[in-house]
Amino acid sequence: MISFCANIGRLFLNFLQGTGHFIVFMSQALAIGIRPPYYSRQVLKQAIDIGYFSLPVVGLTATFTGMVLALQSYTGFARFSAEGAVATVVVLSVTRELAPVLAGLMVAGRIGAAIAAELGTMRVTEQIDALSTLSTDPFQYLVMPRIIAGTLMLPLLVLVADIIGVFGGYLVSIYKLGFNPGNYLHQTLQYLKAMDVISGLVKAAVFGFCITIMGCYHGYYSQGGAQGVGSATTNAVVSSSILILIFNYLLTAVFFDK
């Protein structure tokens, strides 16, 4: 019993220590990162990596999510003759929840892992130490450009996912479920408010920040060779995915709580 309690205590202390360590890292990254010099070439490179090269995976996810949502809503609503609500359900679900969360999770898997692996490898091969000896601050050169790119590019990705997701729902509704295209588009736009889209984009910016900072944190403090880099990658994806789900709830509560 005592050893069980000791283990719980140790886990709790480790959690507190990890949280404190992360907060120190984040404060340092933001405090140092906002000072000049600014590495615009690095920001652009990361923006292309995070934004442009994530388009296929985010686009595919959004398309099939929109399609399946239309199909499921139809089969559900048909039971009480409310098929007309399919378009509204699709557009609100996609813009408010599904596009930001699913795009966030896909980007966490693709970019969070890549950042942790890259920085982790740079750490264990002394490239981060080399940066410091070459009068370049790793926070300014490596961390901040990734955070800026992630925070700016994820909303753009989600905007694209919104459009593609709604289009996926439209395709299924028109060509499989036999809806009238004009009516469907009218229904789609009728109940959609600017805040539905804006809330999704704000969520996306927060998720982009979470993904990139967790990737940088785990990669930056990676140790122990290949195994350490592997653990850093896993931890980055797991922790950023959990943060996405937590912040999704918190932001939904902020935007839509009555």
């Binding site: 890259e118 740079m122 130490d129 410091s132 370049t136």
Partner: protein, 258 residues
């Protein structure tokens, strides 16, 4: 005492521990301007940790570390940047940036500090490649496309490119064949002489030490146990040095073989 006789690098009673493991235990060292000091010692005796403490990459627990009479321990960010501006380092594993071509690795500092245009920086990098015996075609390759010996030479070119006042070499010939090791030793000696730099080299390789050093110091259990002119290393009756340079099993240096 005239100014040039003051040590450029001064360490007094430096301690560093990682948890219960004490790595540096009251290390004292002085390196005069223009001097090439080689530090020998077994694995895990604190050689690399000492270099990283001097660079401020690892924070020493106690003691004094000065470069040109400027304190490194607890130095402000600005002061540490100024100190690091004087120093270049060749890392054990070369630590070239994987994501950049060779020429950008070599001209990294010059590009970041915007001292040159990209065209000028590329031409300068090719010049530096020539000085370490590599052809211009190597400039556009990535580090992963080079052999270990070529990577080490590129790393040397990167270290000397900003014309540093102080050079650190961390096991520059480890993992290289004897011929390539000899080439690197000669390049190091030539670069140090040409720049008039103060140098600290860490090595296990006695042939390398004799070629590079003006003075040699031996480190054991985080302390300097002997130092003197390179020519005296064979003559000394210091038991640590004798055991190390002759590779004897018996002597004051204990090797844990379990």
């Amino acid at each position: 005492m005239t100014k040039h006789k003051l040590p450029r690098i001064f360490l007094k009673d430096v301690h560093k521990a990682f948890g219960p493991k004490k790595v540096l235990q009251g290390l004292n060292l002085e390196v005069l301007s223009g001097e090439s000091l080689v530090i020998i010692g077994g694995s895990g005796t604190g050689k690399s940790v000492m270099l990283k403490c001097i660079l401020g990459l690892i924070h020493a627990d106690k003691g004094t570390i000065q470069i040109d009479q400027q304190e490194v321990i607890n130095a402000s960010r600005t002061n540490l940047d100024a100190i690091r501006h004087k120093i270049s380092m060749l890392f054990q594993g070369s630590a070239l940036f994987d994501s950049l071509p060779v020429w950008e690795n070599i001209s990294f500092v010059l590009l970041q500090e915007k001292k040159m245009t990209r065209t000028q920086a590329r031409a300068y990098a090719i010049e530096k490649l020539a000085s370490v015996g590599l052809p211009a075609e190597v400039a556009d390759l990535y580090p992963a496309e080079l052999s270990g010996g070529m990577q080490r030479r590129v790393a040397l070119a990167r270290a000397i490119a900003p014309k540093p006042e102080i050079l650190f070499f961390d096991e520059p010939t480890t993992g290289l064949d004897p011929i390539m090791g000899g080439v690197i030793n000669e390049l190091i000696r030539a670069s140090v002489d040409e720049l008039g730099a103060t140098a600290i080299t860490i090595t296990h390789d006695m042939a390398s030490a004799k070629k590079i050093a003006d003075k040699i110091a031996m480190i054991y259990q985080g302390k300097i146990v002997w130092q003197g002119p390179a020519k005296d290393i064979e003559k000394t009756d210091n038991p640590y040095v004798q055991q190390f340079i002759h590779g004897r099993n018996q002597g004051p240096i204990k090797v844990d073989v379990k």
